[in-house]
Symmetry: D2
Subunit: 510 residues, 4 copies
């Protein structure tokens, strides 16, 4: 296994990225795969952040009047840049976030996809024309750039979340200030680097198009996130992370009557009914539960299985789990890489202990691959048989723990169990039956923002809106009309009649 | 002038409304037109509120599965009920809120309009079907009822705001808990009465359709609003009122990661350019500035006039102002009724004093119609000539004060003045020129949620989304896709392929 | 049984409709239930038609500038009028078209529903605002009234089809010229009467609102339909009827580059898979196949049943069929009324003969209820077991004939059979399985405009677009964005920049 | 001046295009710039066309089930291919269609733009979910691939029109059969070549993705167009060309109840009001009237100028016209290249003669640049002062003739003149006044599909729907929801309730 610092050098070279300007102290990038330190990086002060915001605001004032298709052309070029550096950026994701190669590449592909999508939006950003009740009046609704968009992202999708927000924000005419997780500064720097290069090339071709400060990066910790949430000149803050963090951001943004787009914790369940294709389900469960070492916000955490099929399904899962390759995420064949750090490992063990205390039977969950590094925290994914939905199951543990719970009766009973947690991100049902599927998708079905049939809870396409309800925070990103979250709406009435009729027939003659 | 209590009796009779069940102490309804007390009403305790919420939640569980067109039929019937009682309800608005007859009727008309609109929505509530990147997969986005919707409304639109929210909320499949302003409990009780009668008739015709507790009324003060904002079982809180109140609601709702729809203060401006039709402008200005005695959230407060036309326009306004009929809102010919109460009068005088201190020249503003009652607070509407946009102009005073400010140069200078306040609700430009109008409507134009051309700032139609930016709170109600604020969105992917391809081309073979 | 002419008198009285102005010769209204003549009516000459078109065009010139919500208010009032006269109009439908009471009332309910829907549209008629690629440019798309809309309707939905078209056309700002089937002139006259009364009342309340000639009725035969199709001042012709008629209309309209909305023949199939709920299916099949005596364009004509369940299902259907009450449509308990006339009876018998010749086994189909009148053509609904989809099954016979055909293999085989006819209106599948349902709804599934799961082929809701593909003509009416068929679209670009940049970066400097 | 055949060789080399497989007889490609023959090409027989259609239909059966984003990826790659060959393809357009360099490149840019736009659509193709009136029912509307799309294009946009149609058709899941103008076969072959290369590369990377026969080219004359219009397996025919051709296509397609998308003749007018910026107008007029030598369907043909400004404007235009560089379209500085052929020249002269006979005063219009080739038909653009809108002005002559007509009174008078022609494609107004602009855009304003303010009639952006009304044919291509023209719509109702309620409350109990 080639040590991470060495692989990093190759990646940086491939990206033509010089870390010197970013070097310093305050933020350490480490590689979960071997625990090696990758870089020491300088954190930004609040004064620097203020200056960045000044620049971002000034950039917005120009960018908002740049035609949207021109803004789209920038994002198209960003997509091209990402295509060119997909391998290197994907590997950097693997190095810094610990994802397996396929997932690292998949994350970059998602960046590319959202760029394509945003380019299409750039000739739409559709408002409405609306019939007016008054003669000689015209109504319409237009969407305008909103200002500087703040992005707070988490370690587990260190690049895709930025791209979801940035591609839309830029096409929508906004400037961007990004505070990535302090656990993944290098991937953020790489993104910023690739965007800056794209911006520079575009500016060189079309001078005067790209304002300086259009997209900037804030390296640092919680205090920067808090600062960002509190700035009145940041009308929209998009924050991905824990429910605790999100609640804090939400309150700070609310205090200044700003807008939050929150993508917080999930506690995602899958229901398996008697008519399900169990083999298909087993594969979907495994990917959803152990993919990204269970560190996706959409990771499957609760499996609610009809009592008539729980035994064969659980045994099948145990067999699969026992053979899953845990190891170096950059090695061929690995399906489960390391946890992000020791704290994650400790939290996982604590949850497993609590599960046992609440009557659960745990298979797996032990540390693995110690040889890969003392500070590399690999685990065997854990299956926990539960007889009731106890306390531990109501909390999200960011680790590959899957609680398996039986239900009896019809699908409504399973749905009730599924919905009985504070979070509301993703959910799935496996069934062969039309009626069970439809009930699950109905108003009285899953209460989550994502509800799937015969696929797992994770792995959303970018064409749909992504996000969830309840403690997940209510925000939506990515596809559908999520772009409206990055714009402000104006309702316009134009009177060309020469008279002054009032709405609702009010008379007021002076 | 017939005393208000007497007129109230006729209104109650016409509405067939018996106040006995609501009578008690804690909340006094008074008539601004003569200062008479109309009724003493019982306030609800927090325990009663809890019980109401239990009932509302239970009602929602049934209502959400009632087909939307059936819900629409209920709202259609509500519209019919309102048509039948338009005159009486309009008069009650005049009695309790002090509006002139035409405005009271106009407010009821707005209720009727939103019912019609909501009925149409009830066969739409359109989500999207979306192209999926995976073979044998189908994607769609569906909108589901969200739960109990809390409504907090203000005295100045004591019935319309409720109807905007309730008509949509009910059609969207939600239950409603309404806390009206403690200054206008009777109009709220009348609305609740008319809705309950409609519900009862509907239930009688189609038994089992209407769950008890579908719409309930909370009489009381601030503590009930605070309670409502904090309830996790109230996923959406729609609050209309001051920025101070809205900020408080926003924070409470954010702490539990709920959703706020905020309609807060406006500080609305109109720009008059040299090419404007000054006579048309003068009439629009007058209605916007003095209508509802300047107590609309969309009332015109700042007039920004090109220096070349400011003199003739201001003189024309002074002439109009001097002849405006201030008086009993129920009398024919009255254009300006009373302020809501003494506090409003005091606030107005304080603002006028501050304006004078900041260099303004005030015309009007003095108390009027003392003969109508010692506790009836009529004023002459005030015109204040200002030379610069000083502090008093950056705050909303809920009274008929219009600051007149000159601008020089082109329309961009006027727009800069307009946008340079914390609020962002409504705005208007009067111009004969295409380019000025378009600049005003462009991304670099007005930063308000409402931007009109050649009509005033107030009097929106219900077909557009209503609401504003910045300290106005960002919420949208009424038309366009404002209904989405009352529903939750689910992104669904259905796999019918028999295989399990992953998005973004990720491979994960177990 | 009360004779039809007597019942007619009561209906006319209830509608306050005097037929005198319409009486004359050329068009006979008869009652299929007893063969009695109801009225002799005067047909319009082409000269009269020309004059009507002059008036309609003049009406449109005024109506197009009437605000859409005002137009919506007219349609709302029409809905109220229809509610008031639902019973009488429904009975008239039963008298003249032979529908059973429940279906006659259901047809009027559909009229009411589309009015409600159209009222909602009247504050929408949404076009789009669109992002422009040029600085200082604004783009939008607006929808405008298109002109006089010609409606050609058929006997089997003598009033609903008119209302679908008229409610939308009127809200969209158009005038209407209606040529109903010569078999159902009285229902048309009744609709026109109710609309005229509504128009008159509205005009009385709001003088100057309703232009004369806004909606007119053409009584007569094919030559009037041909005339209508050929008029350049009738930009849109909506025609419902046979494929032969539709093709003729389509060509005439195409010759003048007009727009056709065609609702032509269906040859609708249902697939029943092994996992279907057979009892539910049997009921849905029966309603779809024998409802309206098989004379709906969406009537079920072909039943494609998996070989494993065809026997029990067919036996169940035979049992149901044997007990179905055929008789006077106005009598309680009747499910199947008469065919429209002798020609329909003859066509049915010819098809049954052909089916036998092609190997089919016919149950039922014989004449019934001879006692109700010599010229009253009642039949027992026919079930025809077929072994292959032969020629007779590829044609639509407007009568209660249901061909039952087995399929083997998977659902794709059944879909192939279903799609292998020239028509493409409605289709259904009964299945308990998710995958079969989804395949049926997929791009490679049913090729019809309507594709249902676990409900029959007939009885569409008005919220969706109604119409079909292939020989069904491709038109869409009723819900979704079918209203666009009644308007013209304008793409607008407004340059407020002061410069003149060209799209696609073209340079052209003079 | 380098002779066209020589330049062609370079272009072909740059495109890596070998004409051998296409060579033969029946269709001659010539270069309008010097009259040189470029190539002799083989025309396809109807038998070959039949075989192509077989292949296209088979391709569609596979392509329709390919996920739309994968189809979008193909179109994205086509856009990349076009970017790479923009210069060469643009020059080929100049060679074969006679466009100046900037316009040739602009046309390719439009191809690129529509590809970007179509890629965005590929993750949308949005249908609707719709609220159902029945409990336990779900409604939605989905859009499916429609089949083989036939494209008939004209010489004047030899490549862009194909791309508008093909990019959308391919993303929408259809196969394409293209019959280009027999005057521009080489550009068509070049497009087909670039697409085939793209398809081959894509298939090489992702085997099994691209079905053979997905896009095919039919070289030949009118009989192939007639054949294409008559094929039932070509459900959609998109035809661009003369009104005569379009009418013929429309009737043939109507006879088989197919769908036409017609882009036919325009007779486009601009109104210039007294408040217009005359210098800006003069430049816009010149580009619109003489660009592409007046051979755009959106070319400006009628100028309707207020009498108060007609003299200065006309004089300014005469000055500009006198200095316009007519000549080799590939030479720097040329603004007006040749007419397409002698027939175009003759038609222009005939129209000018007619104009003179109808009282017009002609400036320009004479043949120019004879030295560039005996069969090269250059002309000076013609300005014709007219006093009334006589017969010649009601017909489209595909040449740079601009009729200048005065109007008096207000803008309504000008609009009446503008609308008083059979065609309805594009229109524009130049005005500084808001009211005139709004009236022009209102329901009683321009009756064209395109209505612009302060820009010319030509040069539409691809984000809006393109097309016109009346004799222009009513079709829409390019942006907005024009993609729906390339799909079929299915309205789906899914019953998961276990019961069988009927719509409109119909009862039918068996």
């Amino acid at each position: 296994m080639i040590a991470s610092p060495q692989r990093l050098q190759q990646v940086l070279k491939s990206l033509d990225l010089d870390l010197t300007p970013w070097s310093g102290s305050g933020c350490t990038s480490r590689a979960p795969r071997d625990g090696a330190n990758l870089a020491e990086l300088r954190t930004h002060s609040l004064q620097e952040a203020d200056a960045m915001l000044d620049a971002a605001h000034a950039a917005w004032l120009r960018w908002r009047s740049t035609p949207a298709p021109v803004r789209g052309e920038l994002v198209r070029r960003l997509g091209q840049t990402l295509r060119q550096h997909k391998a290197a950026l994907g590997e950097l994701v693997s190095l810094e976030a610990g994802k397996i190669t396929s997932e690292g590449l998949g994350e970059v592909q998602e960046m590319i996809d959202i760029c394509d999508f945003a380019v299409g939006l750039s000739r739409q950003l559709h408002g409405l024309t609306i019939a007016s009740e008054r003669p000689g009046h015209r109504m319409m609704e237009t969407w305008h750039p909103v200002g500087v968009v703040g992005i707070i992202s988490a370690f587990n999708f260190p690049v895709a979340v930025w791209s979801w927000n940035s591609a839309l924000a830029l096409v929508c005419g906004n400037a961007v200030l990004w505070k990535p997780s302090e656990k993944t500064p290098l991937t953020a720097i790489a993104c910023q680097h690739l965007l800056q290069r794209t911006l520079a090339d575009f500016e060189a071709e079309q001078p005067g198009t790209v304002p300086p400060g259009l997209s900037q990066l804030l390296i640092g910790g919680r205090e920067l996130g808090e600062w960002l949430a509190a700035q009145p000149r940041v009308p929209v803050v998009s924050a991905t992370g824990s429910t605790r963090m999100g609640r804090d951001v939400a309150v700070r943004v609310a205090q200044r009557l700003g807008r939050s787009i929150l993508e917080l914790g999930g506690n995602n369940a899958m229901i398996v009914t008697p008519s399900a294709d169990l083999e298909l389900a087993a594969r979907a469960i495994t990917f959803s539960a152990v993919g990204t070492a269970g560190q996706r916000c959409t990771s499957l955490r609760r499996l609610i299985v009809h009592e008539s099929v729980i035994e064969p399904l659980t045994r099948r899962l145990e067999a699969i789990y026992s053979s899953i390759a845990v190891g170096d995420p950059l090695a061929d064949g690995t399906l489960v890489g390391p946890l992000i750090d020791r704290a994650a490992f400790d939290a996982m063990q604590a949850s497993l202990d609590q599960a046992r205390a609440e009557g659960g039977t745990v298979t797996g969950g032990e540390r693995a691959c110690r040889g890969l590094g003392d500070d590399a925290w690999y685990v065997r994914p854990a299956l926990v048989r539960m007889s009731a939905q106890s306390g531990v199951m109501r909390h999200e543990t960011f680790a590959p723990i899957l609680y398996v719970l039986p239900y009896s009766g019809d699908v409504d009973a399973a749905i009730a169990l599924q919905n009985d947690v504070p979070q509301g991100l993703s959910s799935a049902i496996f069934t062969g039956g039309l009626r069970e599927a439809e009930v699950f998708l109905s108003p009285s079905g899953s209460d989550c923002g994502i509800a799937n049939v015969n696929i797992g809870t994770s792995g959303a396409e970018i064409g749909g809106a992504f996000g969830g309800e309840k403690d997940t925070g209510g925000g939506r990103e990515s596809g559908s009309d999520a772009w409206k979250g990055y714009m402000r709406r104006a309702t316009n009435t134009i009177n060309y009649s020469g008279a002054l009729p009032l709405a609702q027939g009010v008379r007021f003659d002076v």
